[in-house]
């Protein structure tokens, strides 16, 4: 298990206990965190689950794979700490992870 903190665009904070092996996107959708649309359902095919990983967690979450980089081209207002949350798998090392949700997904 790992605690993940989602900060919505309006500042609302959602603390969610996430099971290992699930994705950051799934946990957001299951808990109705606003702003994660995930149109394609987690196939890394749509760029509507875009999040900004808190600077302190960029190293722990790692670099996006080339396919994710390609999809990030379609995301809005991409920053160096941008990730697609369907591609971040929960693991014990990510306990405490903080992600921010952009103003809009597309």
């Amino acid at each position: 298990m790992a605690k993940i903190t989602y900060i919505a665009f309006d500042g609302t904070v959602f603390d969610i206990e996430a099971r290992d092996g699930t994705t950051v996107m799934e946990n957001a959708v299951r808990n109705a965190v606003p702003g994660i649309e995930a149109e394609c359902g987690g196939a890394c095919a749509c760029a509507t689950c875009h999040v900004y990983v808190d600077e302190a967690w960029v190293e722990a979450t790692g670099e996006p794979e080339p396919m994710e980089e390609d999809m990030l081209d379609f995301a809005q207002d991409v920053q160096p700490n941008s990730r697609l949350s369907c591609q971040i798998r929960v693991k014990p090392e990510l306990d405490g992870l903080i992600v921010r949700i952009p103003e809009r997904q597309g």
């Binding site: 149109e39 196939a43 095919a45 081209d73 379609f74 809005q76 207002d77 991409v78 597309g106």
Partner: protein, 342 residues
């Protein structure tokens, strides 16, 4: 305005569920017209995940979006549907005799007995980059596709994106533009390597510019852009003379005109019954991801089931005199004749 196309059934959306509806209606001798905003059949399977595997299609342990589309097209071939691609349905209007007039943004008019809305997540539309005030420039200086190249002649063109659309239009417009700048957020392109090489050669020859960054503002008046404000990857702002902006950020799904067709909705989905999958308007059916009923699951297989039941009800509207017999494709020679196998 072109002449009216006479139809039994018009299906709005050519995704997997719309395609399978052609099969189920075809077994009942109903011929279909399909209209889709994409330039190819397959809907989300073709646009969002052509190469990604799907694991929950019955009897296919694994199949890609493209594979599913190809198989469905092969399955419905005997029923010879007519495709109207690259068109969006604008309006559905009920006529006095209970039939419908369906119009598209390509000025096509259909007269049909039944409408089936199988529009999935809505219509695919170009993504708008998050630039303040960009709406005010759309259609005059900002375009999401190139319909007429002449509208770009002698302009300072800024093209944004890293895929084939961005690269193709960079190469095609460069000879007629006053200047062309291609902007992408990183020095890696998804486009065909050959196009990327050609683009780099033009940059080396000083014929065009390539920059890495994002558009963060637009300056201009009355819908006419004069400068684009660009923030490069070192967070420096620049003003680039620009009179045409072409952003290529892919497509997103919007409900679009469906909201205006007078149907009862449930959170932007079309309410249907679970016997006929008919909407609040008799003769207008809705199947697949776009519909809603208690217990709805947005699965392709649910859409297939909905198509089968819808077809029974729609068949009765198209042929009110005819008695519909329930038959199996395994044993019915009449169905096998229709499928071209008997």
């Amino acid at each position: 305005m072109s002449e009216t196309i006479e139809a039994d059934v018009v299906i709005v959306g050519a995704g997997p569920v719309g395609l399978f509806a052609v099969f189920e209606l075809g077994l009942l001798d109903v011929r279909c017209h399909l209209i889709d905003i994409l330039d190819k059949p397959g809907g989300q399977c073709a646009e969002l995940y052509p190469e990604k595997p799907i694991y929950d299609i019955p009897a296919f342990p694994i199949i890609t979006g493209d594979g599913l589309t190809e198989n469905l097209l092969a399955q419905i071939k005997p029923f010879d549907p007519t495709f109207h691609l690259g068109e969006m349905v604008n309006g559905i209007e009920r006529l006095e005799d209970g039939t419908f007039r369906v119009t598209t943004d390509a000025d096509k008019v259909f007269h049909t007995k039944v409408v089936v809305i199988a529009a999935g997540g809505g219509s695919f539309q170009p993504k708008r980059p998050p630039v303040p005030g960009i709406e005010g420039y759309e259609g005059k200086s900002v375009f999401y596709s190139v319909r007429k190249m002449e509208a770009f002649r002698d302009h300072d063109i800024l093209i944004v994106g890293g895929g084939d659309s961005a690269l193709d239009w960079t190469l095609n417009l460069q000879p007629i533009a006053r200047s062309v700048t291609l902007m992408h957020r990183r020095d890696a392109f998804r486009a065909a390597p050959d196009s990327v090489n050609k683009m780099r050669a033009l940059v080396d020859a000083g014929e065009m510019k390539l920059i890495f960054g994002q558009v963060t503002g637009l300056e201009g008046e009355d819908g006419h852009v004069s400068h684009a404000v660009i923030t490069d990857n070192d967070d420096q702002e620049h003003r680039l003379p620009t009179t045409r902006l072409l952003p290529f950020f892919g497509l997103t799904m919007k409900l679009g005109p469906i909201a205006n067709w007078g149907l009862n909705l449930h959170e932007n989905l079309i309410k249907v019954d679970t016997e006929k999958f008919q909407t609040s308007e008799p003769g207008i059916f809705s199947i697949g991801d776009i519909n809603w009923y208690p217990g709805k699951l947005k699965l392709i297989l649910s859409g297939f089931h909905e198509a089968a039941l819808m077809a029974q009800a729609a068949g009765r509207i198209v042929f009110p005199e005819k008695k519909i017999l329930f038959q199996y494709t395994t044993s019915s020679t009449s169905l096998q004749k229709k499928l071209g196998v008997a």
